[in-house]
């Protein structure tokens, strides 16, 4: 795409990014009710239908986001399953008192992140009118503030950490109907908000990984798909904070942040271009729209014809009053005076400004039949297409510099769409609008909603404040494991590869390394490689190594300090321990025959090797030795060092003797 800036200097454009990292906590129950946490279902046995209505804010006006979300006129269906939701999630029962286990884990997390724990936790309601939470708000409470993390040779500020309830999972969103599954709703999570101190896409990805490791250090957080999600806030100098919501992986963040930086730079260029054309205030914008359904009734472009709309509605099973908006099918042309060329203005890589309009129209007007809209800047190619565009332009009395956008769908929605197109151009006069954007795997984003501000927060009158005593904080503090920035250099210095170090912290085992080093004076590298690498192998075999009592590992490292040969049987021992996790190590070693010195193995060696045929000429060197070792080692592994056995076996290798005999 011409004039797309693919490379930018992040420092030069003043890139600033911060994170809101959401991490589910590992608790048995949800945050405000007694439902089990982490029990996901794909079926449902009940449904409810609801709508959201904005509440009046201070000046008798509605909060910007709330108003937008109300305009979308969404019908909201919640899918319920008896196994994981109760009447609390349905918003038909007030909250129960906050789950103490969750609050403890949240405090632990805050302490790991270097935060000051607040003295009294107040539950707030954060409004969301998209239906993702049936109450229309998320219950959330600040637990810690003012934290710091060592990061990239400096420190990264943690503004606050809050404990909050997770939202529903979206099932479908078609037209005016959005369907949510409620299983995840109400699960406890923490939101960690960093200062906007990240300067490059790489730093953003690295900070996500670091916070992930900090969170996982306590082992009290959930892992797996969707257990941690981050919102990435991005702005460039002169732009505005845009929130890229729900980035599932650190790896995605690089391209997303890069793309957003470019998008903002391009939107600022568009702002200057509009000003150059004499369009800098709302009153300079001349945007009007007209119903052109009849004019285009026999168009060769299928979306303009009522019968193809009817077919789409029928095929997609869209019902009036649910998915379908109000009014008859309508094609509406929006005339944008003096704005020709702006629809093809580049924004994020591979997208142009018409994509910004389409996002708004899809979300707010509920018109979602792809491509959502067509514009005169990139008019589709079909039979008679140029002449049809000409007729339209004439019908709307377009001058050369005017642009046209055409939308189609239920009449009321096309009117909303035309209004939204005008509003998006208004926002363009001001550069970059505050938005929440949805990320995609290809690194692009699309409009999700207008970014809400502090105006949507208010106290939860259903829940009393919770006192957080210093005793409770200290009790949790003394039990904390060392943070990653303490372990990582220590272990790397001991010779454990960085990748293994990070695996230990992310996936568990870190605490065992420290345990066996402390209790069994284990060699840190040996311990790190064992829990970092051997464990991985045992896990892949499907063994529940995490169920093994840590005492067993202490016993193993103690025993192996006296008899290092035991390491040669580490897989067999690991498997045996996983099968009998409560049994003392001595017992397991006895069952494996590893508890006693082996008898005269050398004496019987020749006898045992008799069955192995001498090497043939064609065979590579060492083939016989491998077969010989394979025959004798199962009995000797962990009892006699393999090196010693190999020497003794090699001494008996028949081919050498044979060679000697021939010469």
């Amino acid at each position: 795409m011409e004039s797309t800036i693919e490379r930018i200097d992040y420092a030069e454009v003043g890139l600033m990014a911060g994170l809101e990292v959401h991490q589910q906590l590992l608790t048995r129950r949800k945050l405000f009710c007694k439902c089990p946490a982490g029990l996901y279902t794909t079926k449902h046995d009940g449904e409810i239908l609801r709508h959201m209505r904005p509440t009046l804010s201070e000046l008798g006006e509605y909060d910007g986001t709330a108003l937008m979300e109300f305009k979308t006129k969404k019908n909201i269906i919640y899918l319920l399953h008896e196994s994981n939701v109760c009447t609390y999630e349905m918003d038909d029962t007030p909250p129960f008192l906050m789950n103490d286990e969750a609050l403890d884990v949240a405090v632990e997390q805050c302490l790991m992140l270097g935060c000051d724990i607040v003295d009294e936790v107040h539950v707030a309601r954060k409004q969301y009118l998209d239906g993702s939470i049936p109450t229309g708000f998320q219950r959330t409470a600040i637990v810690g503030v003012n934290g710091k993390l060592p990061f990239a040779g400096r420190s990264l500020g943690i503004i606050q950490v809050s404990v909050e309830e997770d939202s529903c999972r979206e099932v479908t969103d078609r037209g005016h109907l959005i369907v949510w599954r409620t299983d995840r709703l109400g699960m406890p999570l923490i939101e960690t908000v960093t200062a906007p101190e990240l300067r490059t896409p790489d730093e953003v990805a690295e900070a996500i990984l670091l916070i992930g490791r900090v969170c996982r250090t306590t082992r009290h957080v959930r892992v797996g798909l969707g257990a941690s999600r981050q919102d990435v806030n991005v702005s460039v100098r002169g732009g505005r904070r845009v929130e890229i919501k729900g980035v599932p992986k650190a790896g995605w963040a690089r391209r997303l942040v890069h793309g957003e930086a470019i998008r903002q730079v391009n939107l600022l260029r568009l702002q200057r271009e509009l000003a150059r054309r004499g369009v800098s205030k709302t009153s300079d914008l001349k945007i009007e729209h007209r119903d052109v359904t009849r004019l285009l009734a026999s168009s060769q472009y299928p979306h303009f014809r009522a019968e193809s709309w009817d077919a789409f509605v029928q095929q997609d099973k869209r019902r009036p009053g649910f998915e379908l908006g109000e009014g008859p099918f309508c094609v509406r042309a929006v005339k944008l005076c003096g704005l020709a060329g702006t629809l093809a203005w580049p924004t994020q890589p591979y997208h142009d400004f018409s994509h910004e309009l389409a996002g708004r129209v899809r979300v707010i007007a509920g018109l979602d039949q792809q491509p959502i809209l067509v514009s005169s800047d990139r008019w589709p190619d079909y039979a008679d297409s140029r002449r049809e565009l000409g007729r339209l332009r004439k019908h709307l009395r377009c001058a050369d510099g005017d642009a046209l956008v055409v939308v189609w769908g239920p009449e009321a929605d096309t009117v909303t769409a035309a209004q939204e197109i005008a509003l998006r151009y208004q926002a363009a006069l001001d550069g970059v609008p505050h938005e929440t954007r949805q990320p995609f795997a290809d690194g692009s984003t699309d409009f999700e909603r207008i970014l809400p501000g502090p105006d949507r927060m208010y106290p939860d009158t259903d829940h009393p404040p919770v006192r957080m005593t210093r005793d409770r904080v200290e009790r949790l503090r003394v039990a904390l494991p060392p943070p990653p920035w303490e372990r990582e250099p220590r272990w790397e210095a001991a010779g454990i590869p960085r990748q293994t170090v990070r695996y230990l912290i992310r996936r568990g085992g870190a605490e065992l390394v420290d345990l066996v080093v402390r209790r069994a004076q284990a060699d840190p590298r040996r311990a790190g490689m064992f829990f970092g690498e051997r464990w991985k192998a045992l896990r892949r075999k499907g063994l529940a190594v995490e169920k093994i009592d840590p005492e067993r590992w202490v016993e193993l490292f103690q025993a192996a300090r006296e008899r290092p040969v035991l390491w040669e049987a580490q897989d067999a021992i690991g498997e045996a321990l996983a099968r009998r996790p409560e049994q003392p190590l001595a017992e397991t070693l006895r069952e494996l025959g590893l508890d006693r010195p082996v008898g005269d193995w050398r004496g019987t060696l020749a006898e045992r090797l008799r069955g192995i045929s001498p090497p043939k000429k064609a065979q590579a060197d060492g083939a016989w030795l491998r077969r010989a070792m394979g025959a004798v080692m199962p009995d000797l592994r962990g009892k006699v060092p393999g090196r010693e056995v190999a020497e003794a076996v090699r001494a008996l290798e028949p081919s050498q003797n044979a060679k000697g005999a021939r010469s």
Binding site: D119, E120, V121, A124, P464, R467
Partner: protein, 465 residues
């Protein structure tokens, strides 16, 4: 804890109050507070609930969150400004539309609509037509609305002093030509008020509709606006000129139900669809666009009918919820304290234990009027079936058939406001005014679906709750 209404340290006492005084800041001060860990909290000092401890100062921070800072950890508070919360909703004039019916909304307390003050987090009730129009603009398409605030009490505090003026106000509004009346009411005792109004206001020419909400109107998911829309529609256009309750039918946003005032009960502490007609079916389904009448057995709207306001009430009446092992001295104590009427919510068909008989007999002999309703809520008191019932009839306890216990209580209060003469009291009690006793219980008047059963599961899986 008696602090003046304009207390600048509202709700703060003891140590927290002393701390605020020491740092010379007040409620609504915009401050920068620093604690012993060097954390800085910038925001507004909020009033504190007097039921909370005296150890914390509450700040609403710039990001909208509230937090409490322990007084021992405060190192400095710097006042940056001061801005008092404004507990008022800017009004928008309710548009007058000559073609629309006139509806009067009578307020008893609680909030039908409200707005939030985001700066302080306060919830401010909306009540005047202008305020309501701002909150629920759809009302202007339904009617010309006038509002009258009668009291400001929570529904559990409603009693004689409210019931009588409320009934009289209804009479006034009907006389003034209202096409329908809506009463905003807390839900806890809405059933009681609906029952007493059914006796105090008879032969109404227009609908009288009680409405409230189970989720307060400061929540986006509130049922308040839709309930209000349904109620105002029922008052403006509905055909049923009786005292009714209008609340959610299912918990989904679908339709409201109009329940007869004497036969309705709050059946769940928090569900939206909490009100149920007991022992009968509801009168009508009402939605934004239609009425679906479920019966023709009601008093139709007729502007020529003359209302009879009969607002009398004797509150020396109680309800005795019988339980196994109840002691007779409880009955004696009621008589001794001057109670004139006792509604027994008896077990089964209307029973109490034998040791109570002498006490009940003494009570009746001393002029106390004792009636029997059933604590099963559904079904009739049929005291001729078992010996126990026959014994109680002999003592002089009068069965009230399928009158709900709370309705019986309200009716006895009303009847005793007219007469103390036993036979007349009992004649009036047994003569239905507004379906409080019905002759027949239809088989669909008792439907409590039992979850878990295959047929119920099939139903609730395929229908919105």
């Amino acid at each position: 804890m008696n602090q003046p209404a304009n207390d600048p340290l509202k709700g703060y006492r003891g140590q927290a109050r002393a701390a605020l005084e020491r740092f010379r800041v007040r409620v609504w001060s915009e401050v920068r507070l620093t604690n012993d860990a060097g954390s800085v909290f910038e925001g507004v000092i909020l009033p504190r609930s007097e039921t909370f401890d005296d150890l914390h100062v509450v700040i609403k921070m710039r990001n909208g969150y509230n937090t409490g800072v322990h007084v021992d950890r405060i190192r400095a508070i710097q006042e940056l400004g001061y801005k008092e919360a404004v507990y008022k909703i800017p009004e928008r004039e309710f548009p007058f539309n000559a073609g629309l019916p006139k509806v009067t909304l009578l307020g008893t307390g609680g909030t039908i609509a409200s707005r939030l003050d985001y700066r302080t987090g306060a919830v401010i009730p909306a009540f005047t037509p202008g305020e309501l129009y701002g909150a629920v603009p759809e009302l202007a398409d339904i009617c010309n609305l006038t509002t009258r605030k009668l009291f400001g009490v929570f529904s559990e505090n409603m009693s004689k002093d409210q019931y009588i003026p409320l009934a009289q106000a209804i009479g006034d509004e009907i006389a003034a030509g209202a096409d329908g009346i809506v009463i905003g009411h807390g839900t806890d005792t809405m059933g009681h008020t609906a029952a007493i109004l059914s006796f105090m206001v008879q032969h109404s020419p227009v609908p009288i509709v009680l409405v409230g909400s189970q989720r307060s109107s400061d929540r986006p998911s509130s049922d308040a606006a839709l309930n209000l829309i349904h109620a105002v529609r029922a008052a403006a256009y509905g055909d049923i000129a009786e005292v009714m309750i209008c609340m959610f039918g299912p918990t989904s946003d679908r339709y409201g139900l109009l329940h007869r005032g004497t036969r309705c009960r709050k059946m769940h502490s928090s569900y939206r669809s909490t009100f149920r007609t007991i022992g009968d079916i509801p009168l009508c389904m009402v939605s934004r666009s239609r009425f679906d009448y479920l019966t023709r057995d009601y008093l139709p709207r007729d502007k020529t009918r003359k209302v009879r306001i009969d607002a009398v009430y004797d509150d020396r009446v109680t309800i005795l919820y019988y339980y196994p092992g109840m002691k007779p001295d409880l009955v004696d104590a009621l008589v001794e304290k001057g109670y004139k009427g006792i509604v027994i919510a008896g077990t089964g068909l209307g029973h109490v234990n034998k040791p109570l008989y002498p006490a009940l007999k003494r009570a009746i002999q001393q002029g106390v009027h004792v009636v029997m309703a059933v604590q099963t809520l559904w079904g009739f008191a049929q005291m001729y079936v078992y010996d126990t019932g026959r014994d109680l009839l002999d003592i002089g306890i009068v069965p009230l058939d399928n009158m709900l216990p709370e309705t019986a209580l309200m009716k006895l209060c009303w009847v005793l406001g007219h007469t103390q003469e036993h036979a007349e009291v009992m004649r009036l009690m047994r003569t239905p005014v507004s379906h409080e006793i019905t002759e027949r219980e239809p088989h669909n008047g008792y439907v409590i679906l039992q979850g878990g059963l295959p047929e119920t599961e099939e139903f609730i899986t395929s229908h919105w709750k």
